[in-house]
Amino acid sequence: MALPYYVSPEQMMADKAEYAKKGIAKGRSIVAMECADGVLLVADNPSASLHKISEMYDRIAFAGAGKYNEFEMLRKAGIRHADLKGYTYSREDVAAKSLANAYSQTIGSIFSADPKPLEVELLVVEVGQAEKPNELYRISFDGSIIDERGVAVIGGKSEALMTFLKSRWTSASISLREALRLSVDALDTVTNQKLGPEVLEVAVLDRTRPGRTFRRIAPGELRVLLNSP
């Protein structure tokens, strides 16, 4: 019987991480930003039907970067998790924290146990209600979970985007339009092109809406928001 080659755990993890990072670096980026109206999500996405941003629950949204089939599977699993929890207990018991944790566990165990790691990065964001602050969680390919404040970025150009946004995003009291323009400016800068409404996927968790707060901003409305003075 031939023995398998010995590979040290350090080497194996480093290889997997490099593989996953490479996959994610090829993908386009997504920005989540707190603003006065709630939480804004902007994705560089030329497809009008294959979404990267999705509604999860009443006050929770999801965004995925990297390999489409992988984050789509995770998106569906997340919605199942949220709906099951809301149906078993109550709608108010569904929280982004528990969803982000479930993602972190699942992605983490796949990273260490499966031969191929998931080439995905996820955002799980929840808009606060009354005094409760917004929550932005970023989950990496290895299951590590980062609790962000103000701005969160995933996808290929996330480091450059974060550098751009860190100095410019001032407070959560900026208007939806200001937040949108800042996000689009950031995406324009790191991709070195002018992204029009037809290649942007934009949605907002609108703090003021009762019940389901998730709302997509259609290209028509987006054009008005971006172009009006």
Partner: protein, 271 residues
């Protein structure tokens, strides 16, 4: 709770069934046998609340759905303010009659079902699709129906493709039948239907259809002991929802109260 990564399709109901967690099928094992003449409550099942009269009527802009507020337990009133008409999504509603417990659970599960599909697929189900799915869920309740826990919904929705309101009724086996004008179900359903048969015509306006609905519920309350009429002392009135192209809308209680008062005044003059 772990994540369910395997593909379970787009139906929340089927997902629950596959997990063996279906609350609707976990029928309590009461020691009775189903009667051949139809579902009968076996003596070993203690009395439990029943919802009574609900109705739906088509009108020029869409469809109206209304219900009285009473729940009945044998010869006792078990609730005066219960809600029997449920919004299930932006363009549909379910009204329930029969065993209140499983019926309300069915409506709640159906709400989650529609929202779940919408989120997973990024698209809403067609009106017909919603009606079919509800039929499957009613059929899933069959074992409980044989034990006397009959929960029969009435479904009303606005069909965005056909641009009209639609009404579907069900039987205990999950059979689904479309009604083109109006329908009422529950213990006072027959009385409500008789009233609507007299008053219904095509192309009713919102004001006219509201009046017919209240008249039908009033007559049902008069002739059926289970159905509750407008309660002027406590200020309890039937609930009414309109479903039209721009979505589902609850009729203000003040508007229903005023319409009920007019109706009662007119009857008083006639008496």
């Amino acid at each position: 709770m772990p994540l369910f990564l395997n593909d379970h399709g787009s139906s929340f109901y089927d997902f629950l069934v596959s997990r063996g967690q279906d609350l609707l099928r976990d029928a309590p094992q009461a020691g009775g046998h189903a009667s051949a003449s139809g579902p009968q409550i076996h003596s070993s099942v203690p009395a439990f609340p029943h919802g009574t009269t609900v109705l739906a009527i088509r009108f020029q802009d869409g469809v109206l759905m209304a219900g009285d507020r009473q729940a009945t337990e044998g010869f006792q009133v078990s609730g005066r303010r219960i809600e029997k008409v449920f919004r299930t999504d932006a363009h549909s509603a379910v009204a329930i009659a029969g065993a209140a417990g499983p019926a309300i659970e069915l409506a709640r599960l159906f709400q989650v079902e529609l929202e779940h599909y919408e989120k997973l697929e990024g698209d809403v189900l067609s009106c017909e699709g919603k009606a079919n799915k509800l039929g499957q869920m009613v059929r899933g309740n069959l074992p409980m129906a044989f034990q006397g826990l009959v929960a029969i919904p009435l479904f009303a929705g606005y069909d965005l493709k056909r641009r009209e309101g639609r009404i579907f009724k069900y039987d205990v086996t999950g059979g689904r039948y479309e009604e083109t004008e109006y329908y009422a179900t529950g213990s006072g359903g027959k009385d409500a239907r008789d009233t609507m048969k007299q008053l219904y015509r095509r192309g009713l306006t919102e004001v006219q259809v509201l009046r017919i609905a209240l008249e039908a519920l009033y007559n049902a309350a008069e002739d059926d002991i289970g159905t509750g009429g407008p309660d002027l002392v406590r200020g309890i009135y039937p609930t009414v929802k309109f479903i039209a192209v721009d979505g589902l809308r609850d009729v203000e209680e003040s508007q229903i109260a005023a319409a009920c008062r007019t109706l009662i005044d007119e009857r008083r003059e006639r008496a």
